[in-house]
Symmetry: C2
């Protein structure tokens, strides 16, 4: 509805931050006036100096007045704040939802992109872009190894990657071996795409979809495989998707009994080739080599990318037992999770 706002978020992303900051300042002044800079700075958890700049600005705009006893809102500031309060809810819709999600899911950091992937495909790309931003941000200065899974969400991330000087030294590896996906959504393919887009390097994990216990044992001892496994376990970052259990199982042409098992045990979520039920317990695990769920504890940064209102249950289920990650999702999923 408020088109301008959405456009501004896109074209002036920090606008929202500054706006929020000044809004908070004004609110606090109204609440505690007259109040001094130091007290205010403490309460708002910011350095006195930056608050001072902000507050000087507000003074110049005639919204607050300085006195020797502290700062007060002017009449005009009071009016403006009143109007602001009406509008700000809308502005911070997503930010508020992010915080609610962080709390509800116990995830450290949630990023919500406007829209619903189920409705528009470009929303998934937006999630991709957001994720790329996060990746760059979390990049340490030295050699980075990024492990990726398959799925359309992660494919979107790959698509949105752009070369960056920070990314050039990065090595991309698939998190786990063949999971039976279509080529364009396989971890291997995505991994290669990412490396190409980021001008980085990559290693692939060539293992067949169906593995018997025996071939698993022998493969794991292959020198080439072993080497890559080591790389995977020393990954500094994992980027993975979350899928709906049934959809994923079908897409992977799983056996009839497999589908039955999933259905009976009420699996709702899928990630890394693991299937989870509503409470986040593991129902089934596709046998393949690579990153196991318990290995995640050793990896510093784990980013989950999943959106669309239809995935809400899956996201919620998966996150139930695997918190303290970063989640990139969309408005559709967020709303559905928060019901």
């Amino acid at each position: 509805m408020n088109m301008l706002l959405d456009l501004q978020k896109k074209i002036l992303p920090d606008l929202v931050d500054v706006l929020g900051l000044r809004f908070r300042i004004l609110r606090f002044i109204r609440l505690m006036q007259p109040i001094g800079r130091r007290t205010l700075a403490n309460n708002l958890e910011m350095s006195e100096r930056v608050l001072r700049s902000e507050v000087t600005f507000l003074k110049e705009q005639g919204l607050v007045e300085f006195a020797t006893s502290g700062m007060t809102l002017t009449h005009e500031g009071h009016n403006l704040l009143g109007q602001l309060e009406v509008v700000m809810k809308e502005v911070f819709q997503t930010r508020t939802m992010e915080e609610e999600l962080e709390k509800k899911l116990g995830v450290k950091d949630v990023h919500i992109v406007p829209g619903d992937s189920d409705e528009y495909s470009w929303v998934q790309k937006e999630m991709g872009r957001a994720c790329v931003g996060l990746i760059k941000q979390k990049m340490s200065s030295k050699e980075n190894i990024i492990a990726v899974t398959g799925g359309t969400s992660i494919a979107a991330v790959a698509e949105m990657l752009v070369p960056d000087s920070d990314l050039k030294e990065t090595l991309f590896v698939p998190a786990r071996g063949g999971l039976g996906e279509q080529v364009e959504n396989q971890a291997n393919t995505i991994c290669a795409t990412m490396a190409r887009k980021a001008m980085g390097s990559y290693r692939l994990l060539h293992v067949p979809d169906q593995l018997s216990k025996e071939s698993y044992e022998s493969l794991i001892n292959e020198p080439t495989v072993k080497e890559i496994l080591q790389l995977i376990h020393s990954a500094t970052m994992v980027i993975h998707g979350i899928g709906e259990a049934e959809t994923m199982a079908k897409r992977r042409n799983s056996s009839e009994e497999m589908l039955k098992k999933i259905h009976e045990k009420k699996a709702v979520a899928e990630a890394f080739g693991y299937y989870f039920d509503q409470s986040g317990d593991i129902i089934h695990k596709v046998l393949t080599i690579g990153l196991q769920l318990e290995d995640l504890n050793d990896i510093p940064d784990i980013i989950a990318v999943a959106g669309g209102s239809s995935k809400a249950d899956a996201i919620e289920a998966y996150m139930k037992q695997r918190p303290s990650q970063v989640l990139v999702t969309d408005e559709g999923a967020a709303r559905a999770i928060l019901t």
Copy 2:
């Protein structure tokens, strides 16, 4: 209507500029794509480097693409630009009017404050604030002498003045002697108020309202008066209002024949104690000492402050023959002038 926008202009003034800049860039790219940085920078009259930062940002937002042949809008960028165009008219309403007024009146610099002084009294204060901003901006580093006239608009400027390190050395003087106004709107009073608010110094011009030719001659040779006159003539800045002829004449308790003269000769505007008709010709001049109209040519900065739709004709008339100034006005007057 769009409340958020007005609030933003108030609370995030420079973000609006950035918005405009990016908008212009996108438009130009669409027009000339594919286009290179240098060409684009030339066309937009900005340095290549700042354009580069902007354009890199736009790339990161996925709105433009870089290729070896130049930059192009992405599909997304195209969409966004389309939506932006709808909204931007509103954003730049006042800016557009400012440009139109500059053209129509031949004034170098026009500043329009939202609202109409006739409707809300706070609009006049806003003009005052805007004017204060301009004053500070135009302040040269050395001793400044600011000459001011009377009137409610200038009184508003005085009210909005705030101390500033730049202003401390400033000397305020009244532009002309007694013009028969009420005390609070007299040049002398305003002058003193300004100096107090700005922590500057001031000199007053004590001359009676009604002056005979003889006393005029003798006063002008008084050493104390002479000294101040010299200061007035060496003023670095003049801030004056523009009034409606009839209103001003009545407010000054002018004689019956005076009112008649004004009416007959169809005076519409008043400034500095001069009365002007619709084409800007001088109809009458109140005899007092101080700044004469022709002295204005020697003064570097001249700022006119006048607003309210009712003053539109007066502003237009006065400006007809006295262009290349700075005009601070409000939306009401601006709309009325542009009809």
